[in-house]
Symmetry: C2
Subunit: 437 residues, 2 copies
């Protein structure tokens, strides 16, 4: 790539599909990608930028000149342009926005709250009066064809601009040309207000199996439309957030965050975990005398803790996932918990037996006092810890959900810590009872 002459390369890339150019760019080092990108003439580069993930757009364009910038932004969808501007400091964003043809479109989005329907909606939609006939509607769409690429639903408004109904394109095709939109429109439609949270928009759209959602203001006037592309984006974001929260990372964490953002996103949970494990340390410390008598007991701390952690994480992930997908039959929770309990008991019994065997095996290699008693104590404690941790993991998310707390977030923090503490406590109690007594 580096050896080839610039003109040849650009000629070649021009003939490529924008998606392929984009995939080439993200495989290069950032500096080379920027250089290559700056070589591209405006037309293909706009298409490439449109294919790129939003985070990369600003990275790639950091070194572009203001001129290039204006051309590229002007060529993008206003939603995409606004996303890019969002990634810049406010003064630069404003200076750039003023040079754009769709100034109003781009800047007015900034006035809506983050993650609200207003922030993600597009202002491009087809709205027609109720009195419009089917033939007139078709003519209108033909006239607007260049401006609107993909239309599947027409919005019908009254004389004050209030949304009164929707007409699917298929229905328009089937209806006689002289009937009015008011007569054929669907009056039982879904619309959200501009301050509705994007999660709520997604939930409503999914419930009704609707692919584009109209946005109305406080007077019921149609002001925008959330596209299927945006809905997909929200869905992906929401799934990712749950996963990140459960692992104790801030839900906005991205793979290419700056250092301070990484620290900010992870430190709170690390410190909460530190407090939790310090309590576990105090529990261990209170058994110092027993440890001094039988230092071998310390070797079982990692086993107990890792088992408690794993069993708890498994049960809580299934529960969090079940809540998120609505897959939990609320009427059958007791039954569900009973099943979790029995399954954990079985898992714990199997793991406990294996640990007992390993302990007896180890006693033939290194001198261990009363190996049978030790095997009994450790396997019984593994059984109890596994069962206990699974029950905590299965119950806490359901309880938190009932209290209106996001189960994904709380699960990561509290279940791990409480299982750490419970784990060592149960282990030392069992060890004291069955081994040291």
């Amino acid at each position: 790539i580096k050896a080839g002459s610039r003109t040849e390369l650009v000629e070649m890339l021009k003939r490529w599909d924008p998606i392929d150019v984009m995939q080439l760019l993200v495989r290069l080092r950032l500096k080379q990608a920027r250089k290559l990108f700056n070589w591209l003439p405006a037309n293909p580069s706009i298409k490439v930028i449109a294919e790129l993930r939003p985070e990369y757009r600003s990275l790639l364009m950091e070194e572009a000149t203001q001129e290039q910038f204006r051309d590229i932004l002007a060529g993008l969808d206003p939603e995409d342009a606004a996303d890019i501007l969002n990634g810049f400091p406010e003064d630069i964003a404003e200076a750039l926005a003023h040079r754009l043809p769709d100034v109003e479109e781009v800047t007015s989005r900034q006035s809506y709250a983050d993650d609200s329907a207003g922030r993600i909606m597009a202002r491009k939609f087809v709205a027609l009066p109720m009195t419009c006939s089917v033939d007139e509607a078709v003519a209108q769409i033909r006239a607007d064809a260049s401006r609107i690429r993909k239309v599947y639903t027409l919005y019908v408004i009254d004389e004050d601009g209030r949304l009164t109904g929707t007409v699917e394109l298929g229905k328009l095709l089937l209806a006689p040309g002289t009937s009015t939109l008011g007569a054929i429109m669907n009056r039982d439609f879904l619309a959200v207000s501009s301050d509705t949270d994007q999660e709520e928009v997604l939930r409503l759209a999914a419930k009704r199996d609707i692919r584009a959602v109209p946005v109305i203001d406080s007077h019921g006037r149609l002001i925008g439309r959330i596209s299927p592309k945006q809905l997909n984006r929200i869905a992906t974001e929401e799934a990712a957030e749950d996963m990140l929260l459960m692992s104790g990372v801030s839900s906005e964490a991205k793979a290419n965050d700056a250092i301070l953002r990484i620290v900010r996103g992870r430190l709170p949970w690390l410190l909460t975990g530190l407090i939790g494990s310090s309590i576990a340390a105090m529990v261990v410390g209170s058994f110092e005398d027993q440890l001094a008598t039988a230092a071998i007991l310390a070797a079982f701390i990692p086993v107990t803790m890792s088992m408690a952690g794993n069993a708890g994480l498994q049960a809580s992930t299934v529960a969090v996932q079940g809540i998120a997908t609505g897959n939990i039959w609320s009427g059958e929770i007791t039954h569900r918990l009973l099943k979790e309990f029995l399954a954990a008991l079985m898992n714990g019994a199997i793991a406990g037996s294996i640990l007992a065997l390993l302990t007896l095996l180890a006693s033939t290699l290194v001198p261990i006092e009363a190996p049978l008693h030790l095997a009994l104590a450790t396997s019984l404690s593994l059984l109890s810890v596994t069962t206990l941790a699974a029950m905590v993991g299965a119950t806490v998310p359901l309880a938190l959900n009932k209290l209106g707390i996001d189960p994904a977030m709380a699960t990561g923090v509290f279940i791990t810590s409480s299982n750490d503490i419970l784990g060592v406590l149960v282990f030392f109690l069992m060890a004291t009872t069955f081994y040291l007594s």
Copy 2:
């Protein structure tokens, strides 16, 4: 609910939205839900069933009579009917399928592999010859209107039934009535074969931003269509699978699995974890003499392990997520790892300082020998463990991905175990060097 008379209740539910009835049902105990469901006349119950998640359908219908069954299945979309039949033992499913009007539709799906495009495709689509004019196409769609509810794309086929192009409904509306479909169709379309994996279908559809994907056989003939609803379902499933795999649960785990399925889905990872932590136990055991001298050291095992676990989980989740969403700029991996390293160093330094303070504080309450040395040893070990665990967590998923192994699965199993072992090893080495020497 129980007190009200049956007739009144049924009258009331008939007037409800099927979605609301569905939501009432899942809040009841299973027995009551079944009873109530059996009271409902066929028509509303079909709509309710269509709204229910597939897993619940078979649960709810277990006690329905064969007669009810046939009526309900016949009223559902063939895809939904096939899903329900899939949930039954083969002989019953066959007996039921033969009584359905769409026998062929329902049973032929069973012949495709699990998770293949053939299994999830619908056979309802609008296919017209290339020579068909726009006006004829509109007439054809009108005639089929009752059979097909939502059409957005027409498929254009040649005389052998091979797919040659697609026409968006919007385009049909805009084109002159006399032009042929062959002239206006889009020839650069996406189609998948019936044995394409559903994940691959999703990836292709997402890349092209396409909402319904046509399915062709080995001769290029159009045989089905994957609906937007199915694509959404795949997307949700895929996101859930990653999360479950990372937590060490089989990717097919559901919140309402039977006991043996729960055990089977979780035991392998628990046992792998047991082996990993047994190695950690051996490491601790090899420091038995040091522990006998200073039993207090055992108290720091939980702190070290929990910190290693958390830091590793955080880093690996961000990496797995970044890989899954394509959010990692491949050209910048060294830079990314450097950032992870510096961030982990900062987090480790902060957590280490706090642990040192806690240790010194504890030494004022209980007698601890050489508290300053202990504080130094434990905080340094926390710093190293955090950094090391984060680097393992950030690197392993990337490496596995390069090797073609699903990073989500391997991450859960290997990172936790290796961090457990590394954690205790580093801790005891630090303790021996700075505290016991």
